[in-house]
Structure formats: C-alpha cells, structure tokens
Symmetry: C2
Subunit: 456 residues, 2 copies
C-alpha cells in the first residue's frame, strides 16, 4: 500500500484540478432551469469514470434526473463486492449575496476549497473515485469488486433511485454499501456513524362541530377541537420525557455498555449546546446523556399545528377542526409501521366522544444499525486511522438517511457511513467548503478501505 | 293609545312602501365602491327624519361613513330621555346567486319582506322611526324626549361611533338606550335580551430555540414549543369545564333563582342543538343547563393556533415558536382587564423554564346587564306584550355587542334590547327577510314603549 499512498501524495494537485472541474458544473437538482446542467454533470461523471478504468459505465434514465452507474467486477466472483453510493446533485445557492466567492467557481483559501457541493457530496464521492483510480494506477486492479451508484436527486428526496434499487436488486447485489455523505463528530476526530434513527410521521385531525361556531353563542357547551387536540398532545409524553403510547418501548434494543462508553468519551459541552440554540434548559429522559437521548432513544415531536383563525387580529370562533403533524424518531428494533399503528390507536383512545379523529400516516423509515464489529465497520476504522493518523470515534445520528434503510432492507447489505465532512462545512448554506486535508485523506481512506475490507 | 294604534293599522301600507325605499339604498359599508351609496342612505334618512317631525337632524361626519343624528326634546327637561341606537349600513350580498329575489329590490312573499338589511337593521330601526311618527301624528308630541343615533359602520366594527359617543357624552345624555338589533328566542316568543357576556382576548406565543431545529438531530433533548403550548392550553380548563385560572370566578355574580326559572321555561331541545352542529356530545359545566352555560357562565376558548410546518406533506422540525389566540367570555361582574391579567400571570406561571412566553392582550369588552326590574326593561315587557298579544320571555346572549357596554359605561345609561328579528331571518346571509308581523308589531311596540316608559 505504500506505493499507492505515495502515488496519491504525488497526484494531489491533479486530483484537486479534476475536483474543481466537477464542482464547476451547476447540478442544482431542485431548480428546473438547471435540468440540462444536471445532465451535463452526469455525462461528465460517466466519461470520467470510463477514463480512469471502469469496465462498464452507464447513464440510467429515471422519471427525473439520471443516475450514473459504473462497475468493475475484475476481482472475480469469489471476491467481496462493495457498492459505493453518493450523489452528484447539489443544493440551490440562495442567498447568493452571502457567498464570499462564487458558488460555482471553486476557490482554495487556507487549505479549504469553497464551492457548492464541496462537502455535500461531490468532494466526498470524488474521494472514492480517486481512491479507486489510485488502485487501478498502482496495481492495475482492485482487491474487491466495486459498483458505483451516484444519483442526481438526493437533494430532492431520492424518490427515483429508491425505485431503481428495488427494481435492480440483482445488479446491485453487494456485501456492503460504503457511503461518504456525513460529517465527523468534530474537527480532528475522524468518525464512523454506525446507526441512524428511523421515523414515523402522521397527521392527526380533530373534527368537532360541522362549521366554525361563534364563541359567544357556543362557548361553554361545545368541545373546542383545539383544546381537545392540545389535551391529546399533552398526553403523548410525560414530564420526564417518557412517551406514553402503550407498547412504544417494547422493542427498543438495549445498547451495550461498550457503545455507551464510546459516547461518554466524546467531547460534549451542554452549555455550548444550549447557548447555540438559545434555550435555558434542556428536556427529555435525564437517565440518559444528551447524546444518548438523541442517538439511542426514540423521541416524539409535533412538527406543525394549525386550527381556527391564524391571521392578524382576532376572530372569536370555535373552529370546526384542528390538526397536527406528529413525528417519532425510532431506534432499533422499533418497526415504523407497528409504531404508527400504536400511535393511531392511542390517539383515538384518548379522544372524547364529542369529536371525530382522523389519523393519516405519511411516511415510515426503519432505524438502521451496522454492528461496530462487522467487517465493513472494522475496515472503515482501519482506513480512517491509517489515512488520518487518528483512531476514529464511533457515533450515531439522531436523524434518518432513508436510503441507508433501503440498502439494508432491500439489498440486505449493511451500510458503512465513512463521512469525510466537518460540522463547519456549511452544507445547504452559503460558503460550503471541504478541508483539503479531509479530501486528500478521504482518497487514502477509500483506497485503504478496499484493501482492508478484502482481507476481512 | 288606541287612537295611535288604530293610526298604525291604517298606515301599514304607507310604512311598508317607505321601508322599501330605505331598503333599496345599497348601503354596504365594508365595500369601498358603495361609499357614495352609503352617504346617499344617510341623507335619505336625515330628510325622512326632518319630514316626520324631528326638530333637529344632522349628518355627522366621521373618519368613515357618516352618523345620522336626530333629536326631539319637546317633552321638556323634567321628562325622561330615550336614546335610540341603530344602524343604516348593511352586510355585503355575496353569494349573490343564492338570493331568490334581488337583494336591493325588496319583495314581499307570504307575509315576509326579503332584501338585504330587512332584519339587520333597517327594518328594526325603521319600526322605531314609524313608532315616533305615530306619536307626532296622533298627539303632535312624544311623552319622552328622544335622541336618535343611527350609524353607518356597525357591520365594520363601529369604531367611529364609539369615539363619537365618548366625545359627546353631554349631547347624548339619556335615561336609557333602546336598541332593536337582535332577535327573538324563537318564532312566536317576543323576547327581551337583558344581558350580554363580555370578552377578553389575548394571543400567547411560546418561544423555544432560536431557530427551527431538525427533529432528528434535536428530538429528545429540546422542549418543543408546540408541546409546551399544548400542555399549557390543557391546563386552562379541567374535564368538568371548570376554568383553572386562579381567581377567575371570584367576581362572578350569582344569578337569582327567578332568572334561572325564566331560562328553564324556554323551549330547548338538546338533541336538536347537537344535531344542528353535528356533535355527539356537549361539554362544559354540567351543574348548569346548556342555556345557562352560554348565558350566565364564563367560558374560555382557543380561537386559533399555529406553529411549525403547516403546509402539505411533512417537514421534520422542532419549531422555534408556537402561538394561540385565546378568548374568554365574561359575565357580570368580571372585569376584562383584571381577567386578562390573571390569565397572563397564569400562563407565565405554568410555562417551563425552557421557553419564553409572550402574552399580548388584544381586546376587552365588559359584560352588560340591565336588571329585569329596571324601568326600561319593564316598559319593554309591557310594549311587546301589548303589541304582540304575547308575554315576552327573558333571555340573555352569550356573545357581546360592544356598543351596549359603551352606552352603559360611557353614558351610564342602561341598554334595553327589544329585538324584533327572528332566528330564521338570514342576517349576514342570502335571502335576508323580516316578517311583516314583526315589523308592524315593532312599530306598535316602539310607540307603546315611549308611553309606558314615561310613566315609570
């Protein structure tokens, strides 16, 4: 591997110039006027992948933007197969006036490269492409089979790639899915995110009288749907953060002491956390640390509520209805479908007879966990440690990355999140950047990953 | 009085023709394109009042539509003075296609006259004008002094007339204020409404984190402003409809058994009431009847609520804030200012330290009550009984008519609500009408009122 790592050192400038070319392409997937530019980016990528040595490269049409697919299966049927997932589309650039350098003119300042998509996700997926190239150039081959799936609609919800995966299980068959689209816990601490929370999302509507009533003529005798909804919401969680839906915690997996120890060792300041969001006091299950509450415990939130008159001034009505959007973050081994049903039953059971209640399920997403002693995670640990000269830390995420659940569920392949970004990368914001050390280190980590994974 | 009542019988057709002229004028106060028509209506009224015998008639300019004022003080300084209040403006006519006859072409069908403003309030105020005229024509005078205050902005909030009253206390000085702008309890039951609930209205805002947070990254550790607001709202009222604001009931006047007996005798079907609004069950303080809960007990309602994402689909945020509009209906002798303060203190006291709470008071209105044994009410009872050959019933209103509180508070004159409308008059709706029996009976009732009131 030394020869390969030396090559990477020598080619840094070339890699950076190529990354700049990739970054100059305005692949904003959510804005229709960039449709052709998105396609141009996909084409550029396909040609680039052919040039560096992929046997097969493909533009796959979808109902939206195309998917770029490439594979190299030269390691043979007995070797392991790694699917690398990433996306070539980027977020819009508004507000443009807050950028210090133009978003599509990549600019290096103080060891960081600024442009839209540097961290999310062009810089990260490109590190893998260069990691693969370094193997081709040094050894003429890879120690594992590689499939590359780079979509153009991650920033608009990944709807079409989800369908594509479901319909092409055989083509995408693999032993693990390597994804670099997340960030380190903090600067200087390479991180492996090995679990994500799932989600269940519903809308509940409380329907009272058949029309808005005059609160003078009816106030005192008719149950007000907003009051009823408020009372129902107040019964979802107790003062200690415990969720009151019967059976909610039944399948929550116990987290090992080893894992909890990893979290305890992470630098965390509750004061800074509170200051950043400007609240005086945190809430929740105080038997668990803040990170544990976010990463290993399920949660429930009301994401929106509306009812009655919400314009300026006053209107004295008892509204006919009120509704709320409720989401729950789930942890292994909670099942979104089952939890949605439990919530629905509970909401109906606590509503008074004076109202009707409708619950509409919107979306479910499974929690994802890849055991920290699984081959993919072990290889990623080794890769980050060697590439960055620093033992990586283990972390989880409180949010969901729906496609990881799809890989896990549909392909049966454990995802490995070997993120290369940093919390201050300004993704989805002006002045997005990636630190060059992370980009170059990421190329090395990718190259080492294939080597290490092939041995496990 | 027989001579006078005979005269009214003889002049019915003339009165109806004059009412039609009044109804043809399109005095829609809320629509700017009718501004000139509103003024024309005021002018028509002024000229009409001059013609029938008022000494002094005036168009009083305001920042909005003009007020028509007239007085006859010929009964002398030792006689009582009655101020009659009404309005000559009307509601818009949309949806026009639902009218069976054109809204400004008064049409008599089956003893009812259809047109915008028939019941609200042209027909009712015109009954008083004709009642006064019948005295002038029969006796050449009235047994009381009369002041007529007819505004043109009742349907847009009466803002300018409220100011006018406050600034012209001496000019408007009187012993009682007679108002016919309400309706009977039901067909065939002439009614006197002798009390109205007051109101206190506030908006409460719960402010949590300084920005909307990702519910994945923060769910489980940050108090959600919607949850907090829901919990606060759920603490405003218990399961038995009792309002939990400390001191809320301190000043609630006990209602006499005599009054409660009047309400018990009124026809009321709880089944029909529920069917009309399509609810399975009523709520509130079950120690009181439905009518009592609406008329003599204070109530609290949430009139509107909003927070977080309320568009289509999902957005998984913990919102930065949530707010609700809360109104309370007050009964004698609750003071809106004091109650608003109590609610504000209570809301702040039940909020957790994790949020900030802002309470904005919007509006207060005093409850109004005119004792049923006061001279004005006694005269109205006698007037309705003689005019309609039916003993009137006593009722209250759950809503507020803010101007009655102004008369009571600013002029110190007890208001007497001698309504002539019926619940099926379609006020504010297509096909507004007044029954001709109620219009003609109203003229007699008005004439008799002056006579009876002068004797008490």
């Amino acid at each position: 591997m030394n020869e390969l790592l030396n090559l990477i050192e020598l080619k840094k400038d070339k890699y950076l110039e190529e990354l700049k070319e990739f970054l100059k392409l305005k692949s904003i997937s959510s804005e229709p006027e960039y449709k052709e530019e998105v396609r141009k980016t996909a084409m550029w990528l396909k040609i680039h992948l052919s040039k560096i040595g992929f046997e097969k490269t493909q533009i796959i049409e979808t109902k939206g933007h195309p998917i770029v697919y490439a594979e190299w299966l030269g390691a043979g049927p007995n070797a392991k197969t790694v699917l690398i997932y990433g996306h070539y589309d980027v977020q819009p650039v508004d507000p443009l006036e807050e950028w210090h350098t133009p978003p599509f003119e990549p600019t290096v300042i103080d060891g960081k490269i600024y442009a839209r998509g540097t961290a999310d996700d062009k810089g990260q997926i490109f590190a893998h492409i260069k990691g693969i190239e370094s193997h081709f150039q040094t050894y003429g081959k890879l120690p594992v089979n590689v499939k590359l799936l780079i979509e153009g609609e991650e920033e608009t919800g990944s709807g079409n790639v989800e369908d594509f995966i479901a319909e092409n299980k055989k083509m995408l068959q693999c032993d693990t899915v390597l994804i670099s689209d997340t960030e380190w816990y903090t600067f200087g601490l390479p991180s492996i995110c090995y679990a994500l929370r799932g989600i269940s999302f519903v809308e509940v509507k409380v329907i009272g009288p058949n029309r808005d009533l005059h609160s003078g003529s009816y106030g005192g005798v008719v149950d007000n749907p907003i009051f009823v909804l408020a009372k129902m919401l107040s019964k979802l969680k107790d003062e200690n953060g415990k969720i009151l839906i019967p059976g909610f915690y039944d399948k929550v997996a116990k987290v090992s002491e080893e894992e909890r120890k990893h979290f305890k060792n992470l630098p965390f300041s509750e004061d800074e956390f509170k200051k950043d969001i400007d609240v005086e006091e945190l809430s929740g299950e105080f038997d668990f640390s803040v990170l544990e509450r976010i990463w290993i415990r399920p949660s429930i939130d009301v994401n929106g509520i509306k009812g009655g008159y919400i314009g300026e001034g006053m209107k004295t009505i008892i509204p006919s209805e009120a509704s709320a959007k409720i989401s729950m973050r789930l942890v292994p081994n909670q099942d979104p479908k089952e939890i949605t049903e439990k919530l629905t039953e509970y909401l109906i059971s606590i509503a008074p007879k004076s109202v009707k209640v409708n619950v509409t399920p919107y979306h479910g997403g499974n929690p994802v966990i890849t055991p920290i002693d699984s081959p993919g995670i072990k290889a990623a640990v080794r890769a980050l440690e060697l590439a960055f000269n620093q033992k990586p830390v283990f972390m989880r995420e409180g949010g969901s990355i729906p496609i990881t659940a799809t890989f896990s569920k549909v392909l049966g392949a454990p995802p490995v999140l070997m993120g290369l970004g940093l919390p201050d990368d300004n993704i989805h914001a002006p002045n997005e950047k990636i630190n060059l050390d992370n980009f170059y280190g990421g190329i090395k980590a990718s190259a080492i990953f294939f080597e290490e994974y092939s041995k496990l």
